[in-house]
Symmetry: C2
Subunit: 269 residues, 2 copies
């Protein structure tokens, strides 16, 4: 089974100023994508520490290493430079990244400066991953047989880059599994009432991923399209689990007063 | 500066079923107690992994290693056995632990069985740490110059054992610092309204620890005694920071409608 490690970079995690929700989110996603999440390393914003973490992870035979943190413009954001040092790669301005970052600042009417250029500096050979929500691009780097994905620490940015640029990549190069999805629609319950129900069901079914997409208005006429996703080698097994989870979720939502309709059922890739 | 590592043991952390709030809580506590929290390791309930984590931590020169998870009665709770294997120590029934565990079950009218006895099995030479909230005792073990504290994963149990048995121990053997405390009393705001204010102030001041103790009734006549704690080598510096934090906290609470009185100011040990 393909192995994955998660590296969380940031002093604030170790002094307890921030709870590491990113690791849990990534663990769930990587598990859903068919990876065996083997270890998590929490390190400071310090090159010796960051280099140690990446080198240990790549030498372990992991297929994928995902890091969060240290990609911003300030002096304590060192992940890109430390990643370069870790593998003896030239730390340089990546043209594609520079274009991405410059565009964001010029459309905000701002000039580039050293701090902003820093966000376009990457290990030689890296591929920048555009940031749909913020500014600092993520980094994809292949070291030996391992793919490293370095993402921002800000959860909304990390998740957006992961879903847009990492997840599709991992589906292509990852384990031979198919992705199955069932969609239900819930009417009458605000998304804030649905969220805890979804969390409960997801906790009971570790391999299932559930996302809700609101349409309608949160309080006046709330409607959510809820996608229940599962990865599996076996279509038969997947559909069995999905039906069970759909039933469970629909029952809980109806108990809370929602009207629940089944929308669609099909494998997605 | 004395170094500390945190080891979080549990598959559920890596598949993202549980967010690792324990690590953040311990990081904050250890920082407050004067330790430099150097690394966090997240590993599965697996002896190779657990042994790797403990051995790496002890060989790094860390003065303290705190682990959470894997101390319960079920088959996947392996921390105690893995800790023994990690250091070639005999894994055996600890008499003091057996007494602690038996007492809990007999006062509940239950017999001892293999699963329950398992919670009293520890590396030879370990000291059990009584669990005020649950059943499984924590474990204190000295390996070379490092003190290992293995605690349960259930947050309420972990915190209770830490505060009653680990914190006093660390104050005695830890860095040469004094502990300072200022107490204020808040009247009129329920604890649930105070908690986010306290979190905000704590986040702004990483070395300060703030605890509120409710008296009175949550909704009818809420009163909280709020302890603002800081560790420092310098009394002068400590009192300066504490006054600043006290002012900030009192202002925020008054803005929310509380009546705030200063209760006391003194070093505590």
């Amino acid at each position: 089974m393909h192995g994955a490690w998660i590296v969380s970079i940031g002093n604030e995690l170790l002094i307890g100023r921030v709870i590491n929700s990113n690791l849990a989110w990534l663990g769930k996603k990587l598990t859903y994508l068919g990876f065996n999440v083997r270890r998590g390393l929490i390190v400071k914003d310090d090159c010796e520490e960051v280099a140690w973490a990446f080198r240990l992870a790549t030498s372990s035979g992991a297929k994928v290493v995902v890091s969060t943190g240290g990609l911003g413009p300030t002096f304590d954001d060192k992940t890109s430079e430390c990643l370069s040092k870790a593998f003896g790669l030239r730390y340089m301005v990546n043209d594609e990244a520079l274009h991405l970052v410059s565009k964001k600042y010029s459309s905000a009417g701002l000039e580039m400066n050293d701090y902003r250029i820093k966000m376009a500096m990457m290990p030689e050979g890296a591929k920048p991953l555009p940031n749909p929500v913020g500014t600092a691009p993520g980094i994809r780097l292949k070291v030996g047989e391992t793919y490293i994905f370095a993402l921002p620490g800000v959860p909304s940015e990390m998740k957006a880059i992961f879903e847009e640029h990492v997840e599709p990549f991992l589906k292509r190069m990852g384990p031979e599994i198919e992705f199955f999805e069932v969609e239900i629609t819930s009417k009458g319950l605000p998304e804030s009432s649905i969220a805890p129900v979804i969390d409960r069901v997801m906790m009971r079914h570790p391999r299932v991923y559930i996302k809700s997409h609101p349409s309608g208005k949160e309080l006046e006429a709330p409607v959510q399209r809820i996608h229940i996703q599962l990865s599996s080698k076996s279509r038969k097994e997947a559909m069995k689990i999905l039906e069970k989870v759909e039933e469970e979720l629909a029952t809980l939502l109806r108990e809370k007063g929602a009207k629940v309709i089944r929308s669609s059922r099909s494998p997605i890739h």
